[in-house]
Structure formats: structure tokens, C-alpha cells
Symmetry: C2
Subunit: 571 residues, 2 copies
């Protein structure tokens, strides 16, 4: 009984039973490769979030272990990611906090976000993410990537700049462009060049040396690590920090600290909305990656269990000095491709990062910030994709409007406003569309039982009879529209005796629409016209019967439009 | 050209052409009767709004003339009404203003509301009112009536009380219940008694005196005027104001002052939302009354022209020392029943009220406030109707939730929160419902071309073939749901070779849903299952063709489900 309940929420209890040496070796190799990727990334993304680099490492230890225990996805690699780091910077940056207060707020943000995800998981509220439409998500991602890239330019050039929106940021960069530091630019340019080359060129290059497939694969992912090592050594050897190259400096060495989030009601209130958006965006992106990877091996994931996994990871992050985490796209793909078979790969990665936190941090003293920015900028720009804009333009102008507004609002007003504007606009456009539904006057296609739009087809009609097909569920936002449409159409036809509402596409009728139908019925009645209905769906009929509407109806209820036409038409 | 444009916006230019003596006499009699009703009501509603009584008179002169010029409704009687007066009190009461500042803010409120209505009229934005669902409107009206009644109790009992929400109001009344003033209670009780009797009893009583039908009709509406005259005289004769009966006191005498609204950006910002709600609620109620009355004589009104008429009335009110006005329910019915034929009746009423403002105000010095409260309470309680609650409970729980939440939120948190909560909840429930659409697996009804739910009917199916009918348009909020439904259903059927999506009830497919269909197609393809579609509507097919989706589709597009079944089934 208890075991079953536990198994439901802790998938690790199931896959753990069949864990064996084969699976272990797959997981281990994947973990080594992901660790190599994650060490520089975690430092870099912490920098992007405006946090000390070690918080990136802390966010890559306990959260990975917690996620391994609770996740339903076998391949998703969680940890600090670029977009969530940008959102963290956006949420905290506007609060005017400094140093340890800023870091403490990041911990609180992870904690709130974790709690929200857990609550949504337990109460199966994952469907809320469905209201983030595809145009909003893709527009937001495009804008976020541009913002991230812009925010790194100051590190790449070694100048000062500030701002969390595009306008301020670009203006500030422009003002300080004169302070460009040549040594920094040299580090950035060579790092970016090497990283771009290593994405595609490193593996073929290594294959020349006959190192065996496994070592080749592992080494081919070391591009970021190589630039970290090389630029750190160069900075140390040539004393580049004295020439104005900004370095990471002293990082604390040791296991992650145990942190207790600040329980300050005002702070929680201010961070609530940001935590919600971070949770939602992180969840949507994670689930999308996890589903794609699971489908490749005909496996399934449970979105609600993912909420619990991600929630546990964020709570763990908050308790161990980290900041908000979620599933990373490229890291998960590498994890999958490197042969990971279970979430244990994530736990092994955590051990690797722990090792780094214990022993490697002193070696990073001379690591240039420009190197980390180079890693960020190469990672995110490879994800930049403007095709949704073009596709939306071709397919649907409202969807295009949603993408465009989300991108612009995110760039100009920042992350929170951008996503909110996109969601509100998507909903408003959807509601506007359904508030003016497609309504057609239909007639019978000669010789068969089909009824089609009189404006599109050559059909049989009758001057005493008007058949109106409504192509939308009837609810408050469109019930007045229907009322006006019917009464206006009727006013133009003096010979009319019967109006049939053909309801084949009406999936629901709410109370406002019911009132409207009653109104239409009584107005037509007083004009001597009978109102009939045809092809009303079963569940809708059941509910209308219950209200006595059909007793009031001046005409009849026909099962099929054909029946109605046969009985009422003058032909 | 110019004349035509003018005629479009000024309906008076059309009905004015055929104006004659017959129509004039009908309008005049109606105007006399409405004036008799309106004098005490306008004073009383100004009191309800927390304003000096003369502002009620001012709001009943110029606004009526402006409305007569621009309205498309022939019978709607505009002026101060109870619910809008309550909303005015709610909007201004929370701002901590006193005396002339409070009155100035009321004038600004009328001005903003008038501008909003005009803008909505010119840009044909009347459809926005459709988002006020029937449950929200009726819930709000019920709560508003209860709040109005509660707010008048202090005047009826002659005690002090404060509060704009039910809890504060009742608590405050309870605390001060000991200060009840016997003379005031006597005036209230006898006024209320007489008013209730006069609603039904006055006309039959007058008929005994053989005064002729016209005079009888006019006199039968004088109930409120009689209590005003009698209680004013009694207070003066017996010096009841010395016994603690609170009186109206000195009212200014003369034509309405010319007022220029305060152009204070901060004030406008604070009043914007309230002005919008007042405009919307006033508009919805006015149009509903106007439509009902127009239908009785087979006439039509134009909702967008009504926006212009009501907008002009409110701007006129703001320019002549008034406060927000709209169409009144009972007053309009009386206007119609008394024989009004054109909006000129409203203009004649305005002349009557002007006469009152010029000559009658000194006579109202001793008018007890309790008398005005008695008039308000009898007027609003006759409109109280709990039937929407019962009806919604029986018909639809989501609609019931919307009514109940609107009532409770309005009573507890006030007017603005109440309406907003209702609108947001209605939209959320609608979106939630469409985010989990009805989806059925269907099979063929033996011997015919109909396809029905396999769980409801005894139908033919085939193990290689799964047909899924979706009873909702596909958009971002339900596209993931569909994706999961299809993939989950497929995962349970190892023999499956073909999946058909039957789209007879799909009126639209947005870009998120298109992505989901592409995803379903590619996942099924990789599992060796073909995806087909049937009965896709014309406009939807056209747009999908444009995207090349059908080229990617692993299966076929069938015009009818019958065709698809005939070709793919194993039978």
C-alpha cells in the first residue's frame, strides 16, 4: 500500500529494480560527458544570472540527485540553463539588491518556484502550461536569446554596461564602446572562434588520432573545457588581468552550503509572479525535450510527474545554495546521444560536479569572464531560430501578432511583461475569434442529404425556410452575435415561416447562450416565425431538455437537417 | 454627403422629418409622467451616489437632450439610475475625497465614461460588452441591489453608518443600532408602506373618481411625488428636523452650472477602470431594455449608435454639473407604456426637470433624507431576482460558479472587484472547458454512413483502424491534450495501422495545434502508423494546404468519414 503510493511518486523505485552493469556503463559514460559540458556552463549561466559562479556549481549537484529520484524522463539533464538564468536576472535585477541579498533572493526564487511546481504536480495542474501558446513560447525564446547575447557583449568587449531590456542595454553599450579592452576582445574572439569550430570540427579532427570511439566522443565535447583551461592558463601566464581582463577570482572550495530560504512575506510577494513564469517556461521547455527524447525509444513521460521532479530539483537547489534550474536542451540531447539509459546518469553527473566544487575551484581564479560569455553566446546563438515568425505570418495573422508582440515586448519591456503580453494577446485573439463565429446560411445539395453554404454551392432553398448553420460552440461571448445575426437575417425575409438552427458544430451551449436562444425563440414567435433546431449533439440535447427549453420552442427538434428540410420545405 | 454622414450619427435628423402633432402629444404625455417619476428619483440616486441632491437634477437635463439627439432607441429614458449611482459611490468612496472634491471627481467620472462610450461607438467596439456574461451581469445586479438596500438602512433608521462592502456596512449598522431615531423610522415606514401600496393600488383607487384615463394614468405614477410632498410638509409643520429627522436642506436654485472636468492625469488614472466598468454595465443594461422595448413595435436599435448616445449623454452630464447616467429600466418601461413615440419625449422630460431646478428646489428644504431612501429601497427591491442562481445551478455548474462568485465578491469586496472576478472566472472556466475538449472514438453504425461514439452505440470497428472525433476547434489550450490523447490511445493498441482524425466539429486550427498535428503525424509515422484526416471543413483545409501539412501527412485526406472507413477498414 505505502510502497505503491511511494512508487507512484518515486519512479526511481521502479527502474532501480532492473538496474544492471550494462545500464550502469551507459549512464556513467553519459555522465562523464555531461559533467565536462556542465562545469563551464554552470559557471557561465550563474554569471548570466548575475550570481557568483559557484552558485552555478551548487545548482548542479543536489538538484540533479533530487531530479534523478523523482523524474519520469530517463534522459532529461537538469541544471542551470540560459533562459531561466536570464529570467532570474530579470526578476532580481529590478529589485535593487546587492551582493549577498541578491544571492539570497535567488535562493528564495528557486524555493518558491520549486514549491509551485510540486503543488502543480500533486494537484495535476500541468494543463496550465497549455495556455502558453506555441507562438508565445517561440517568440519568448527568440527574444530571450537576443537579450542573453546582448547582455554578454559587455563581458566580451571588457566594457561596462547595464540594463535588462534591449534599449537600455544597447544604449549603455554604445555609450561605453570607447573603453574596449583589447586583451579581452582577443580572448573572446579566439574563444568564440574555437567554440564554433569545435561544434562541428573537433570530432573529425580527433578521429584522425585513432583514440577509439568512446574517448573520441568524450573528447569531442570538451570544446568549452578547452577554452576554459587555455584562457585561464594564458591569463595567468601573461598576467592579462593586469591588462584589464576581468577574471572570476576567488571561488569558495568545498561542498555546497546548507541554505535556508528567507521567509520574508514581502520578498515572496514580489517574487511570486516571476517564480510562476520561471516554473511554467522551464516546465514547458523541459517536457518538450523530454517527450522528444522519450519518443525516440517509444517511451512515455508523465508531465505531472515531471512537475514533481522539477519541483524537487528546485527545492533541493534552494536548500544547497543554488538558484532556479530546469531541463537543458543541448545537455539532454548530449546525455541521450552519449548512451544514458536511466536518470542515474544525472546522479553520476552530480558526483562529477561535486568533485569540481571540492577540488577544481582554486584553479579557476584566473578564468576570464570573457571566456564564460563566449561559451554562453555560442550556446544560445545556435538555438536562435526566426522561422516561427515566417511560418506564423504565412499561416495565421493572429498567431503572427502573438509571436511579434511577445518578441517586441520581451525585448523592450523585459521578460515578465513579454510573456504576460503574449499570453494575454493569445487569449484575447482566441476569444475575439470565437466571439464572431462563422455562421452560414445553408441549402440542400441537389440529390443528396448534404447541406452546404448557399454562397459557396449551388443548393436548393425555399423562401419560407431559412437554415442557419453555426460553426462554433455557443457561449457568452458570441451569443449576442448570434441573436443579432438571426434577427437581422429574418428582418430581410418577409416570406419566412421557419428558421432552422443547424447545430452540428455546436459542442456546448452555456447559460448566456441559452438566454439568447430563448430570446430568439420569443422574438421570432411574436413575428409569427417558428424556430426549429437540427443535429443538436447528444450531451447538448440532454442539458437543454432538462431546462424545459424544448417545451418553449415554437418549432421542433430534428435529429437530422435532412429530416427538417424534408418536412418544412415547400419543395 | 455631409448630410448623410450626419444622419448616420444623428438619428434625430431622420425621425425629425416625420414628426407631427399626434406623435407630439404621445411624447408630451409620456414626458409629463416620466418627469413626475424622475424628480424624486434623481434626488434620491444622487444621495445614493454620495452627492448633493441637485446633481441628480443636473444629470437629468442636458444628458437627456444629448441622448435624444443621438439615440437609436425611441423609448429609452436615460438619467441617474440606482446601480450606476452605487458604482459611482464605490469608485469615489475609496479615494478619501470630501465635499466639492468628491463632486468634482464624479463629474470627471462622467466625462471619462462618456469619452469611452463615444470612442467605443465610433470604433464599433460594442462587442466588448459580450464578454460580460449573463451570469456575471445577473450576479452583479443581485449583489448591487442588496448593497444599495443595505446602504439606505442608515437613512431609514436615522443612524450613522459607513462602509461600501456588506461586511463593513452591516457591522457599522449593528454598532449604531442604539441611536435609532423614532421620528425618522415613522417617516420611513409610512413612506415605504405607501410606496408599496401605490405600485399596484393607486391606479384602481384613482379609477373610482372618474378622472378620465389620461389623468388617472398620470396620477397613478405620482406615488413617490406624494411621499415627497407629504413628508416634506409634515417635517415643516411639526418641526421634525428638531427631533432628529435629517433633511435635505438648502438646494441651489437655477439652471445647471457649466462645469469643466478636472484634467488631472492622476485622477483620470485612478478613475479609468471604474469609468470603464460603469460604461460597460450601463451600456449592457440600456441596450437590453432598449432592445426589449424596440422589439415590441418591431423596431431595431443599433448597439453602436447607443454607445454614441450614452457617450454624448455622459459628456453632457459632465459639462453641466451632473454625474454618470445611463438608461433606467422602470423609467423606460413607463415612458413606453405612457405612449412615447420618439426620443423627443426625453427632451421634453429634460424641460420638466429644468423647471423643477428653476422653481421647486426651495420647496425641498424640509424633504427628509429618509423619504428619498424609502423611494430608493422600494425601487430596487422590486428588481431583486434570485432566479438566475437557481437556474444556473440546474443548467450548468460553471455558470453557477460565475453567478455565485460575482455575488459574493461584489458583496464582500465591492463593485469593481466583484465584476472583475466574475469576468475573469467566466473566461477562465470557458477556457478550461475548451482546453479539455470532448473527444470520442467512433465506429460505423451498421447499415448506414453514420459514425458514432463506440461507448454510446453498437458500432462496427476494425482492430487496424482507430477513428477519433474531436468535438472542438483546435487551439493552443487543447493541442497538447489532443496530442496526449492520441498517443496514449495508440500506445494501448499494438495491432493499429491507421489513425483517422474526424474533424467535422473542428472550426479552426491555430498554429500551436498545427504543430501538435505535425508532432502526432511524425510520432505515429515512426511507430509505423499512418495518420489520416476526414471531414475537414473547407476553410480549414485551404489554410492547411497552404502550409504543406498534407504533403507531410503519412496518410490521406478524406472528404467523408464514410469514404475513409470504406477504404481503410478490414471489413
Amino acid at each position: 500500500m505505502i510502497r505503491k503510493a511511494l512508487e507512484r511518486y518515486i519512479p526511481a523505485m521502479q527502474w532501480g529494480k532492473t538496474y544492471n552493469k550494462d545500464v550502469f556503463s551507459g549512464d556513467l559514460i553519459a555522465a562523464v560527458i555531461v559533467t565536462i559540458m556542465l562545469i563551464p556552463q554552470s559557471l557561465a549561466y550563474a554569471l548570466l544570472a548575475g550570481l557568483p559562479p559557484e552558485m552555478g556549481l551548487y545548482a548542479s549537484i543536489l538538484p540533479l540527485m533530487a531530479y534523478a529520484l523523482f523524474s519520469s524522463s530517463r534522459y532529461l539533464a537538469v541544471g542551470p540553463v540560459a533562459v531561466v538564468s536570464l529570467m532570474t536576472a530579470g526578476a532580481l535585477g529590478s529589485m535593487g539588491l546587492q551582493g549577498s541579498e541578491y544571492a539570497a533572493a535567488a535562493i528564495v526564487l528557486a524555493f518558491i518556484s520549486g514549491l509551485m511546481l510540486l503543488v502543480m504536480g500533486v494537484f495535476r495542474l500541468g494543463f496550465l502550461a497549455n495556455f502558453l501558446s506555441h507562438p508565445v513560447i517561440s517568440g519568448f525564446m527568440t527574444a530571450a536569446i537576443l537579450l542573453i547575447a546582448a547582455s554578454q557583449i559587455k563581458h566580451l568587449l571588457g566594457i561596462q554596461a547595464h540594463g535588462r531590456d534591449m534599449v537600455t542595454l544597447v544604449g549603455s553599450l554604445w555609450q561605453n564602446i570607447g573603453q574596449i579592452n583589447p586583451a579581452t576582445v582577443f580572448i573572446s574572439a579566439s574563444s568564440i572562434g574555437f567554440l564554433i569550430w569545435s561544434r562541428k570540427g573537433l570530432k573529425p579532427f580527433l578521429q584522425r588520432f585513432d583514440l577509439g570511439p568512446m574517448l573520441t566522443t568524450i573528447l569531442s565535447k570538451t570544446g568549452p573545457l578547452v577554452v576554459v583551461v587555455v584562457t585561464t592558463l594564458a591569463t595567468w601566464l601573461f598576467g592579462l588581468n593586469d591588462s584589464g581582463v576581468r577574471i572570476v577570482g576567488t571561488l569558495p572550495q568545498g561542498i555546497p552550503p546548507l541554505t535556508v530560504p528567507d521567509f520574508d512575506a514581502e520578498l515572496w510577494g514580489k517574487l511570486g509572479m516571476s517564480a510562476f513564469l520561471i516554473s511554467m517556461i522551464g516546465f514547458v521547455e523541459s517536457v518538450s525535450v523530454a517527450q522528444t527524447l522519450a519518443a525516440r525509444r517509444r517511451q512515455k513521460i508523465s508531465p505531472n510527474q515531471e512537475l514533481i521532479g522539477l519541483g524537487a530539483a528546485n527545492v533541493a537547489s534552494a536548500l544547497s545554495g543554488g538558484y532556479p534550474v530546469t531541463g537543458g536542451f543541448s545537455r539532454s540531447v548530449v546525455n541521450f546521444d552519449s548512451g544514458a539509459r536511466t536518470p542515474a546518469a544525472g546522479a553520476f553527473t552530480a558526483v562529477g560536479i561535486l568533485f569540481a566544487a571540492l577540488f577544481l575551484t582554486p584553479l579557476l581564479y584566473f578564468l576570464p569572464k570573457a571566456t564564460l560569455s563566449s561559451i554562453i553566446i555560442v550556446a544560445v546563438l545556435s538555438l536562435l531560430d526566426f522561422s516561427p515568425l515566417r511560418k506564423a505570418w504565412e499561416y495565421s495573422r493572429p498567431d503572427f501578432a502573438a509571436v511579434a508582440v511577445t518578441i517586441l515586448a520581451t525585448l523592450v519591456f523585459g521578460v515578465k511583461t513579454g510573456v504576460s503580453a503574449g499570453v494575454v494577446l493569445s487569449l484575447a485573439l482566441h476569444l475575439y475569434r470565437t466571439s464572431k463565429p462563422h455562421i452560414a446560411v445553408v441549402g440542400r445539395v441537389p440529390g443528396c442529404e448534404h447541406f452546404r453554404n448557399i454562397h459557396r454551392h449551388d443548393v436548393e432553398t425555399c423562401p419560407h425556410l431559412l437554415t442557419i448553420r453555426i460553426d462554433e460552440s455557443l457561449y457568452f461571448a458570441n451569443s449576442h452575435y448570434l441573436e443579432e445575426y438571426v434577427l437581422d437575417t429574418v428582418a430581410d425575409s418577409p416570406e419566412l415561416k421557419h428558421v432552422i438552427l443547424m447545430c452540428s458544430a455546436v459542442n456546448d451551449i452555456d447559460m448566456s447562450a441559452l438566454e439568447a436562444l430563448e430570446e430568439i425563440n420569443s422574438r421570432l414567435k411574436s413575428a409569427g416565425i417558428k424556430l426549429h433546431m437540427s443535429e443538436v449533439k447528444g450531451p447538448v440535447t440532454d442539458r437543454l431538455k432538462h431546462t424545459g427549453f424544448f417545451d418553449e420552442l415554437s418549432g421542433e427538434l430534428f435529429l437530422s437537417q435532412h429530416e427538417a428540410f424534408a418536412k418544412l420545405s415547400c419543395n
